[in-house]
C-alpha cells in the first residue's frame, strides 16, 4: 500500500489514476496511522513552498514524515513534494524544509540566460548522473514532463538525474530510502509510469 499524503495542496487525481493504472494499491490520506501503516509514502505538491510546508505542519504530518524517513520507509516527493525534502527554499523569502536531503531550492530567475522562459514547462530529456533503481525500466535520454520555476541546488549528495535547460537542472534525487522527481511522472506517459512502478518495487 502506498500512502499519497493529502495536506490540502494540489490535485491528486492524475497521481492516483496512474498508481491505479500500474496496479498499485494507494490511499489518499492525511491520517497519521494510515501513513505509518503504509509500505511507502508519496509526497505530492504544487504551489508555493512556504505555503505547502505550513499546511504540512498544520496537518501534523511534517514531523511524522521526518520520523518515517528516519525509520527507513521509502518516500518519494514529486515536484514541490521533492523540493520539500530539502533543507530550505528561497522561494518568496526563506523557508525551512523537511531536511531529509542536503541542498536548497533556488529560483531559476537570474541564473538562466534571459532567453530561457520561466517556468521551465514541457518535455525534457533526463540525463542520468548516478545509477538508480528508479531508472531500471527506462533509458538515459528519455523525456519527462516538467513545470517549475525553482530548482534544487547544492545537492550533489543525492543527485541522480538532471535536465538541460541552459544549465543542468536537478531532475531526480535519491539518498537511501528518500527519493524525488522534479518532473511529474504521472504526466510523463509510459516513461513516467515506469518510474512510478520502479518506486513501488523499491526496497
Amino acid at each position: 500500500m502506498v500512502a499519497v499524503v493529502d495536506y490540502g495542496v494540489g490535485n491528486l487525481f492524475s497521481l492516483c489514476s496512474s498508481l491505479k493504472y500500474i496496479g498499485q494499491d494507494a490511499v489518499v490520506t492525511s491520517d497519521p496511522d494510515e501513513i505509518k501503516n503504509a509500505g511507502k509514502i508519496i509526497l505530492p505538491g504544487v504551489g508555493a513552498f512556504g505555503d505547502a510546508v505550513e499546511k504540512l505542519k498544520n496537518s501534523g504530518l511534517f514531523s511524522l514524515i521526518q520520523q518515517q524517513a528516519k525509520d527507513g520507509k521509502e518516500i518519494m516527493g514529486i515536484c514541490l513534494g521533492m523540493q520539500m525534502l530539502f533543507e530550505k527554499s528561497y522561494e518568496f523569502g526563506e523557508h525551512e524544509g523537511l531536511g531529509l536531503l542536503k541542498g536548497e531550492i533556488v529560483p531559476m530567475k537570474g541564473v538562466l540566460d534571459e532567453k530561457y522562459k520561466i517556468p521551465h514547462i514541457g518535455w525534457n530529456a533526463l540525463n542520468f548522473r548516478k545509477e538508480s533503481d528508479l531508472f531500471k525500466h527506462i533509458n538515459d535520454g528519455d523525456c519527462v514532463y516538467f513545470v517549475h520555476s525553482f530548482y534544487a541546488d547544492n545537492c550533489a549528495d543525492s543527485l541522480i538525474a538532471t535536465a538541460e535547460y541552459d544549465i543542468e537542472l536537478t531532475a531526480a534525487v535519491e539518498k537511501d530510502n528518500v527519493c524525488g522527481c522534479q518532473f511529474h511522472p504521472e504526466k510523463s506517459g509510459e516513461v513516467g509510469l515506469k518510474i512510478l512502478r520502479a518506486f513501488c518495487e523499491k526496497g
Partner: protein
C-alpha cells in the same frame, strides 16, 4: 534540451468527438477515450479538449468523459470551451485537466485570468487568442473568431500574461483553415512581446509547415492542429521524425 510540443486538439460535443476521424484500428472513431489513447500512443505531447457543448446535460457528459480520459492517458490535458468563471476552472481541474484555456471568457471578464492564476497557479491558465489583421493592426476576436472586439491583440496578450496567464495559444484567423502554413509574422510579434510559452495554431496543412514554423521561430514552444491530425493528413510520429531530421528537438 526542452523539446517542441505537438498538440492535437479535439472538439467534443455531448461527450463525443465531432468532425469524424478516419483511423484504422479504432473501433469507435468518436470516442474521446479511444482517440486520446491513440494520440498518446502515437507521440502527442499534450492533448486539448475543446468543449463545444451548449447545454447543461452536454456539459455534464463532457466532464464525465474528461474523467475517463484522465484515468487512461498520462500526458498533460488542457481543456477549453465554455470557461467563463473560476468555478468552471474548478469543474474541469477536478476531472483531471492540468490546464484550462480561456478565450471569450477572459474578454468578457478580464478579472478571470488573474483570479484563476491566483487560485490555481499560472501553470494552469492558458490564454487562447483568436487574432486577425484589421486595418494594419492585429485585433482580438471573440466568440470563436466571429466578433471583432476592437482590441489591439498584442497589448491584450501582454496584459493577460502580466495578469498570470502561463501560456499563450495564438490562433491566426487569417491562416486558419487555409492549410498554407502557420502565421509566422503574427507568431513572431506575439512571441517577442511575452516571456511565457507560445503555442502556434491555425494554418498547418503538411509536415513541412511545422518544420518551417520551428526553423523560423526556434524559441516557439509548440504547434497545435486539429483536422490535419484527425484526417491523417499528418501523422504525429512521422511529423516528429521529420522535425528531428531537421535538428528540431522532439520527444520520440
Amino acid at each position: 534540451m526542452i523539446t517542441k510540443r505537438i498538440i492535437p486538439c479535439l472538439d467534443v460535443k455531448d461527450g463525443r468527438v465531432v468532425k469524424g476521424v478516419n483511423f484504422q484500428g479504432l473501433s469507435d472513431v468518436s470516442s474521446p477515450v479511444e482517440l486520446a489513447k491513440y494520440y498518446s500512443d502515437n507521440g502527442a505531447d499534450e492533448l486539448v479538449f475543446y468543449d463545444i457543448t451548449a447545454s447543461f446535460e452536454g456539459r455534464k457528459l463532457f466532464t464525465d468523459i474528461l474523467t475517463k480520459v484522465a484515468e487512461t492517458i498520462f500526458i498533460p490535458l488542457t481543456v477549453g470551451g465554455g470557461i467563463n468563471t473560476v468555478d468552471d476552472f474548478e469543474r474541469v481541474l477536478n476531472c483531471g485537466a492540468d490546464k484550462v484555456s480561456v478565450n471569450s471568457g477572459a474578454i468578457k471578464d478580464p478579472s478571470l485570468v488573474p483570479r484563476a492564476a491566483e487560485k490555481y497557479g499560472s501553470q494552469c491558465v492558458v490564454l487562447s487568442a483568436d487574432i486577425k489583421r484589421v486595418g494594419g493592426e492585429f485585433r482580438v476576436f471573440a466568440k470563436g473568431g466571429r466578433e471583432d472586439t476592437g482590441m489591439e491583440a498584442i497589448s491584450w496578450v501582454k496584459r493577460c500574461v502580466e495578469n498570470g496567464a502561463g501560456e499563450v495559444v495564438v490562433n491566426s484567423i487569417d491562416t486558419d483553415g487555409v492549410k498554407k502554413g502557420f502565421d509566422i509574422e503574427m507568431l513572431r510579434t506575439v512571441q517577442d512581446a511575452v516571456n511565457v510559452p507560445v503555442i502556434a495554431s491555425g494554418g498547418a496543412g503538411k509536415t513541412d509547415d511545422f518544420v518551417e514554423l520551428f526553423k523560423q521561430l526556434p524559441d516557439l514552444d509548440a504547434g497545435l492542429a486539429a483536422s490535419v491530425f484527425h484526417f491523417g493528413e499528418i501523422k504525429i510520429n512521422e511529423l516528429k521524425k521529420a522535425l528531428k531530421e531537421n535538428d528540431i528537438p522532439v520527444r520520440l
